[in-house]
Symmetry: D2
Subunit: 338 residues, 4 copies
């Protein structure tokens, strides 16, 4: 069977994750080219994975007839343009989130994809975590009845560098965006209104950069259910990523994942291991499944599990959250679109 | 050592709990009289516990020189009057929550207590649960650093009868009031603003009675921390009562309590027991500790651990929550007082 | 309804537990007399519980027509004699374990009970723990299929004083005896052979007293199943009391019980509370249920749940275990009886 | 840096695991040849992993100057011969357990390895599981003090085919051998005596084949500690693999690993997922670490973490266990060597 020939754009942390998975763990795919604005990074990654071609620019990848699909793992500000370039070149597209920080920009990119008729999958990796997949099935199967309350805890182990914070678009576009996606995925419903209570509790420099580091966001779903997301940029005990769905027939939740299952008791108490440190460790399996599903969708001609619209809606939610925080009131998503 | 002679007013479910604890489990106390509007209930309880005197009215208890203190366990609408009567009679007072549904009425009762110089403890039993006591110590000791986020889950196993719902004052005064107290207790801080998202999801008749059955309430504390309470009138798996405090140096939480520690695995999964069904079971120990602390405070001349003000503030919070729900906006507690 | 009038013999630690339970927590019983070789202890306990009569000797209790039953909580060497005295006097008998350290002495006492036709219940309290009761039901209901392997962990938090060790009869008669009873109770089957591997690991003085402090005992059941008991006199983290039954259709186990349900995470790990310290705390509920069932059996004329034979067999097992350790080979219970 | 060129001998289930790990997940290694008695299996595996050479016989691998090391994953009866062939050819050797079922045969193979001066690592994969590695560190660091009691539960989800049982050498050489290795590894001490209680409880055909399917094995360590291993060929709830070490300063244990962290409550109970089904899933990470450590040892010229002696001792233990079962008495390992 013919393999999907993928060009990986961006050889940074997440680019390396995807390239290595495509090379070793994803069935039916092969990496044929790597590009990065730092040519040495592309060269190094290509060497490690025995990828034949590498570039300091993605243009040759788009031009390459032997490339069937691209994985866009470059910086956020390049995503929309590369999506358009890939679409015009007829390549199928896996793109890291977010598509762009600007809705009009997103819409242009999605229009290009639609016009070209290529597949696009946006990189909301958490959906593919085995525990969250299982939880979604529990909810979708009605095992907890009609969902009434969704609770998401999402806390990073440490804030990013202040220089990154300044260009990140703020906590809602940078961090909560994953939870907005999780909320839609887990409930199978759309959010119509958000309300944020938050503040600067972790690091004053984050406040000086115009952002906040702690937020509790209430979501109202179209179907009437209520959701709550609590975020912090700094959980000293590691990456805290849990979800609970409460419904008319029960409750189900996902607890954190640990590096080992050792429990130790001494005269001071019972001790066990902290959660896996951050997303590369916590979502290692999710990244493999995510890419496998993209490859499967392209090879089988089916729809990718995370669409362009799935990439767009959380950006709208993030803008509504920002507006709610600024204006100190609940904000409807329809206000953002207007 | 002389025992505190207590008259129990109200021989319903909670009155029986307190009377039995005073008779058997609380050191330094003895029940000398029981009153209930249904005289047969008073008689029956008195017989069971070998209490010498019983009445169909509390007046003889207030008049009895051999009564040192009263435990007011009658219906909510009688609390304030009985507090005043007891205060005038110079009896120390344990009173079930809430003092009254009306703030002015509460204030008159508290004024009577202050004037008489008697002790008053309000029955916020959850504070005395061994797990919540331990969690409070963890927080107060700084073991999780500065608190940033408080999460309270409080879900009843089943809604009360509709006739009760109609006179209950609504979910915030009847149910969330306990969580408002827990929030203040656990954080050692005051709430300045609340925001509610909620609805009728469990039973339409609750909506027809002008109430809601599901609510997510966001709290802003004076010190900047954020709290979230999620309530449901119906958790089919039992009484769900958990609290988590997240802070700069860690997180701590209380999980549910189960009737046994049996874990069973068969070919379908790993199975364990549901939480204890409702408050009588869940807080059995808490009720004993609560009353012991009241008795100790009277005997030792110290301040009771839950003051009249502690009884009043959650009522203010409940009114603010109601207003937030009605007006669909965050409401400051100062708006209620005005 | 008439109450069972109980005389409590022995006002030491366990005597106080039973007396207090009979006075306050057991339905249908009342304590009418207390005796202890230290008269002040009897007097003090009687005063605390408002028991009308107290003595420095149990004889007046046996002679008292207003005593229906006795609870024998005195030192082990007095159990058999007091059983006989009570039987002759026509009193029903609750007796702490073991009946005696000598089988012939046990048999004489049981013969006296049988002749008198009174009820006898032996104090194997663990059977009445809610978790072990539930586990027994799981096994008896066939929820784990046919039992194949039984595992009992039973470790004390600290060894008894050396002076007690010297007169205790050794670890098997003093400590493992409870686990021998648990094994029979949980499996609903008899043990035919035991094998012990053990040693002195905790305290050399225990070895100098001719005893061991650590033992792993293998049990062969008549029906073919295998059991293992592991004992230590010193678990620094507290009383470790767990049981697992593995069978053809699954496995079920009881985990330890903790004083609270607080879980705390900081940058060093996840921490929770140690097991309850020792038997008084761990089996507080079990002692109440045990005595309630004795009272019920007498009042209802049914058989007590732990018979004289149930008190005898674990002593045989203890002797077989001792012999196995001494002779370094598996020993059949029939060798002891011979 | 130059990569270690490995020839994989045996393309069955475990051969595929090792080959894939060497190709994709182990740093510093490359698979250069595959051999299997079924040439099509070798060809297929070579094609999947893009391995240049494949054979129906391992001889060309031993003869190949471009092969630095071999991974012997063929049937047990070929292990010793292939070890000798590889040693003579100067290849470093990773060999699946057991080296042979016959001690003299093992000794000849180990002599050949010693004479050739090549590295040999035996495939006791469980040592490399992250949880067991962590537990070993806890024990070795003295975090639980001096070890007193070791408990190993090792239960397979289902028995192997009867035809395999017949040639397996019996439960001790086939299954418990892993637990014998775990016991030595975890305690850092040697076993001097074993005692077995066991039987046929799962499948009568296993008994007809002269084997047993359920066993409880007691171990005495040289240093005085006691160990217990409980084995069953059939745990309907999946692969049950837990270890506990109890010592003078505490206890530590490893619990089972699950495919997800979902907990679900409904009105019947709290439900979570079963353990991973069997060794390929449970020890997926362990197989990678194991092979990485072999490759590191060869590349760095250090000693492999599992020696030839480590491969031999558990075979002695298995023979002692068999003898104990047959003769119904404790058996010293020195009796086997004699």
């Amino acid at each position: 069977m013919k393999k999907l020939r993928v060009g990986v754009i961006g050889a940074g942390r997440i680019g390396r994750v995807h390239a290595e998975n495509l090379a070793y763990r994803v069935r039916g795919a092969t990496v044929v080219a790597v590009a990065d604005v730092v040519p040495e990074s592309a060269e190094k990654l290509a060497a490690e994975l025995q990828v034949p071609r590498w570039y300091g620019d993605p243009a040759p990848i788009f031009a390459d007839a032997e490339v069937d699909a691209v994985a866009i793992c470059s910086s956020t500000d390049t995503h929309a343009k590369f999506i358009e370039d890939a679409a015009v070149a007829g390549k199928h597209i896996f793109c890291e989130k977010p598509i762009a920080l600007n809705l009009a920009r997103i819409d242009r990119a999605l229009a290009a994809v639609e016009k070209a008729g290529v597949k696009l999958q946006v990189g909301f990796n958490r959906r593919f975590d085995p525990s969250f997949q299982r939880l979604r099935k529990v909810v979708a199967n009605g095992e907890i009845g009609t969902p009434h309350i969704l609770r998401i805890t999402s806390r990073d182990p440490a804030p990013p560098p202040i220089d990154y914070v300044k260009v990140s678009g703020g906590i809602f576009l940078d961090m909560t965006i994953h939870d907005f996606d999780m909320a839609r995925f887990m409930m199978g419903d759309e959010v119509v209104e958000v309300y944020v209570a938050g503040g600067v509790m972790v690091d004053d420099r984050i406040g000086q950069a115009g952002d906040i580091d702690t937020a509790v966001t209430t979501l109202r779903f179209r179907g009437g259910a209520i959701g709550v997301i609590d975020n912090s940029r700094k959980a000293v005990y590691g990456y805290d990523q849990t979800v609970e769905v409460f419904g008319s027939a029960g409750v189900a939740n996902v607890t954190n994942k640990t590096p080992d299952n050792v429990v130790r008791c001494d005269c001071t108490g019972v001790h066990s291991s902290l959660p896996l440190y951050f997303f590369v460790e916590r979502y290692a399996e999710a990244y493999v499944v995510e890419m496998q599903e993209f490859v499967n969708a392209v090879l089988n001609g089916t729809e990718p599990p995370v669409s362009g619209l799935d990439g767009r809606v959380p950006v709208v939610m993030a803008y509504a959250a920002k507006k709610s925080y600024d204006e100190h009131r609940p904000v409807r998503l329809s206000e953002i679109e207007a």
